[in-house]
């Protein structure tokens, strides 16, 4: 039994559940739509100011929207007692973490694309000259949010106030994601070069939390 096949099975099962129920993706999509629509009313009308505000607002919206989905990462497991299946997988449980985090990355990238589209429609953000860097920041941001979110969501499965606990733990830890992703997006939208150091630090941050999740998941899943 290989760990990679367990990770693939968990990944495919989570995506199947996401697409079949549409609860998680649907809630995130509607939430992002409402927030961006509200922002379009309160953000200054001048194009220059919108351009200056958009990167930070985009990533704050993505953070809150992601939180909504990440908090429900283990809902299907807790509802039917199916967490036992994952705990009993006959491989290092780090592979289960990789499968679940991978499915969360896919969901978050979908939400990012949707939110990027909403920013174009409601806030006139033009991605045409910035899409490569924005997509790179989106992928690295999704990986960082998903790895930390999956780990913390698993840790808070058995906690009574998990809706409260998850943001309290997640927000300080994902601050680097927010800062780096909005800086890269801002530089790309302003057509400034993105320093290589930013990419390096971003990739390092993701690598640290993916590795941490892989290593500690064994203990997190047990009672």
């Amino acid at each position: 039994m290989s760990g990679a096949s367990v990770a693939r099975a968990v990944f495919a099962k989570d995506l199947l559940l996401d697409f079949r129920t549409r609860d998680r993706l649907g809630h995130m999509a509607v939430f992002a739509l409402l927030v961006v629509a509200l922002l379009s009313i309160v953000v200054p009308a001048s194009r220059t100011e919108r351009l200056a505000w958009s990167p930070a607002l985009l990533w704050v919206v993505l953070l809150f929207t992601s939180l909504l989905g990440l908090a429900r990462s283990f809902q299907s497991e807790t509802e039917g007692g199916a967490l036992a299946l994952l705990v009993q997988a006959p491989v290092d449980r780090g592979w289960v973490f990789l499968g679940k985090a991978g499915a969360n990355v896919v969901a978050l990238v979908g939400v990012e694309l949707w939110t990027g589209l909403l920013f174009s429609v409601f806030l006139d953000v033009d991605w045409s000259g910035a899409w490569r860097a924005a997509l790179g920041a989106g992928l690295l941001g999704a990986l960082g949010l998903a790895s930390l979110g999956t780990l913390l969501s698993a840790m808070s499965v058995a906690v009574r106030f998990r809706e409260f606990l998850l943001p309290v733990l997640l927000f300080p830890l994902v601050l680097p994601v927010l800062v780096l992703a909005s800086s890269i997006t801002g530089a790309a939208l302003a057509e400034r070069p993105v320093p290589a150091l930013w990419w390096g630090v971003f990739a390092l941050y993701d690598w640290v939390f993916v590795s941490l999740g892989y290593l500690v998941f064994d203990y997190v899943l047990e009672d």
């Binding site: 096949s5 509802e79 039917g80 006959p90 290092d92 047990e222 009672d223």
Partner: protein, 216 residues
């Protein structure tokens, strides 16, 4: 060394001690009844043996391997566990659930069909679990636990929610597994209905084994 061994195993949940210095050995080919009142520690003992709950103290060995050690993960594939929930995804069909479990455990798909037919799940195999009756969910959970012909089968109140015919079929199945060399540990109340002839009865009280002998 016995196939299943526990040495001075205790489990605390905060201030509550669910298991107290439990020492136990079970050889292959045994049908063992864990008896005891509610809260005696039966489910916790099964969860420790199923590697779902790490003991606070003591040593667990399954087939010569510590299932909680990094190198012991593979032994979990030899253990089937059915807790009080069916441990299935409500939005997946029984077939999808079993296929997922088979992939997790590295079990061939042919085994899935054999077990499904043995437990007469054929007519509902493609139905989503959340639409099924309690009895079918229980049978689907059993099918999931039996995937891969586990050498150690841990069942918590397996007759709950089963009609008498399904209950008797389960009893015959457990006896057959025991005869094939598996260890079957069943937590059940005395009032659980028509229980099979167990080889051994362990009685738990307040987390301790207070009686261990041949079942009457």
């Amino acid at each position: 060394m016995s196939a299943v061994e526990l040495r001075d195993v205790s489990k605390d949940y905060g201030p509550v001690r669910a298991l107290r210095d439990v020492t136990l050995s079970v050889e292959g080919g045994a049908l063992v009844w864990l008896a005891g009142a509610n809260g005696a520690g039966k489910s916790t003992l099964l969860r420790v043996l199923g590697s779902l709950t790490r003991p606070t103290r003591g040593r667990v060995s399954l087939f010569g391997v510590d299932p909680f050690a990094a190198a012991g993960a593979a032994v979990r594939g030899r253990v089937g566990f059915l807790g009080q929930d069916a441990s299935l995804y409500g939005e997946l069909s029984i077939a999808e659930n079993l296929r997922f479990c088979a992939r997790l455990r590295g079990v061939a798909e042919a085994d899935l069909h054999r077990i499904a037919s043995e437990l007469e799940l054929g007519p509902v195999l493609e139905q989503r679990v959340r639409t099924l009756s309690q009895g079918y969910r229980r049978r689907a959970g059993l099918a999931r636990a039996l995937l891969g012909s586990p050498a150690l089968l841990l069942l918590d109140e397996p007759w709950n929610g089963l009609d008498s015919e399904s209950g008797e079929r389960l009893t015959r199945l457990l006896v057959r597994l025991r005869d094939a060399g598996a260890i079957v540990l069943v937590a059940a109340h005395e009032a659980s209905g028509p229980l099979p002839r167990f080889d051994r009865r362990l009685r738990l009280e307040a987390g301790r084994i207070v009686a261990d002998g041949a079942a009457a």
